[in-house]
């Protein structure tokens, strides 16, 4: 039986994200996961009433641990102590990588991503060996991925994660800016606006 599994979150979870916690409830109900082995930490901002009601409905309110706002270093400590990190991504932001991902990668803890098939998150999970991806439209896939992460405890290499550090991203961003300013950047000239 697995002990101390923590799902960490930056802020409150939206209703659809809470809804997906039903897979956790199912694993607990089946006796495959000890109820005291899971905690959902919410930092700052509190939990919305609707979300609390949903958690109650699913019988998961006992897992909720509310915290006051804490500094970034403390968040990273919580992330390091988790057995898996939950990375949701909605259908309306398929192009985006959630910013918590970069902190997730920095602590080398396996990630459970729940996202559309044709999304940046799905592409990322294919590229970097850091956890499991489940299709947001397939509840069974979410449950399987969760079981695989919590019960099989596969090891992940995190190969490719070095491309997603902020230093590497800032370097690529500088490349984009240099390309846009290519004429002036290469010659060292300065753009002098019209004085007329």
């Amino acid at each position: 039986m697995l002990r101390s599994t923590t799902l960490a979150s930056w802020r409150h979870r939206s209703a659809p994200q809470i809804n997906r916690q039903r897979h956790l409830a199912a694993l607990i109900a089946e006796g495959r996961l000890a109820p005291n082995a899971v905690a959902i930490h919410v930092f700052g901002g509190g939990v919305q009433t609707d979300d609390e009601r949903r958690m109650d409905d699913l019988g998961l309110s006992g897992l909720l641990v509310k915290h006051d706002p804490v500094n970034h270093a403390t968040i990273l400590r919580y992330l390091r102590g988790a057995d898996l990190l939950y990375l949701p991504s909605g259908r309306d932001v398929r192009y985006a990588l959630p910013f918590k991902l970069f902190d997730y990668l920095s602590v080398h803890v396996p990630i459970l991503a729940v996202a559309p098939k044709d999304s940046a998150v799905a592409d990322f999970m294919q590229e970097v060996d850091c956890g499991e991806i489940a299709d947001i439209d397939d509840p069974e896939a979410v449950r399987d991925a969760l079981s695989s992460l919590l019960l099989v405890r596969k090891q992940y290499t995190f190969r490719g994660a070095e491309r997603y550090t902020w230093d590497a991203i800032a370097l690529r961003y500088m490349g984009i800016l240099d390309k846009d300013l290519v004429c002036t950047a290469r010659t060292g000239d300065v753009f002098i606006p019209d004085k007329a």
Partner: protein, 153 residues
């Protein structure tokens, strides 16, 4: 002809002074775009970063993560006095004299693009967001401002 030309003393060759990047955003309390700005500013070692926030100064939040060499400017912007505040923003941009202005979110995109155009900033970018606003797009087209998504591998 530009209303707010860059000050001559700020117009030294870029090769000597390095790149100046100015981010325009609403606040630095929390949020994904705000974290992007803070993280880019922290890790842009080859450029001098400026952040212009179009709101009242925040206490705490993400601004606490910024290193000392990143200059944060607060301009309390109100829609009622938009023309005045756009002028004020353009005036501030003239002082900063950035090579690139990168705006985030709706109102900073609108105000930032206009002000950067008035201040004749050489390169202007705005972030692509989930829901594009026609007004924002039309304005950007008028001011020849391309959009960019967050840099990905």
């Amino acid at each position: 002809m530009y209303l707010y030309p860059i000050k001559p003393e700020r117009a030294e060759p870029r090769a000597e002074r390095g790149l100046r990047v100015c981010y325009i955003i609403g606040h630095l309390r929390f949020g994904g775009a705000e974290r992007q700005v803070v993280n880019l500013a922290r890790h842009m070692t080859r450029a001098k970063s400026y952040i212009v926030c179009l709101g009242q100064p925040d206490r705490g939040g993400l601004s606490g993560l910024l290193p000392a060499d990143v200059e944060v400017v607060w301009i309390g912007l109100r829609a009622r006095y938009a023309p005045y505040h756009i002028g004020k923003l353009a005036h501030r941009l003239r002082d900063i004299a950035p090579d690139v202005v990168h705006t985030h979110m709706f109102w900073p995109n609108v105000y930032g693009v206009l002000a950067a155009t008035l201040a004749a900033v050489p390169a202007r970018h705005r972030d692509l967001r989930a829901r594009q606003e026609p007004m924002e797009d039309a304005l950007a087209l008028l001011c020849r401002t391309p959009h960019r998504v967050a840099p990905r591998a």
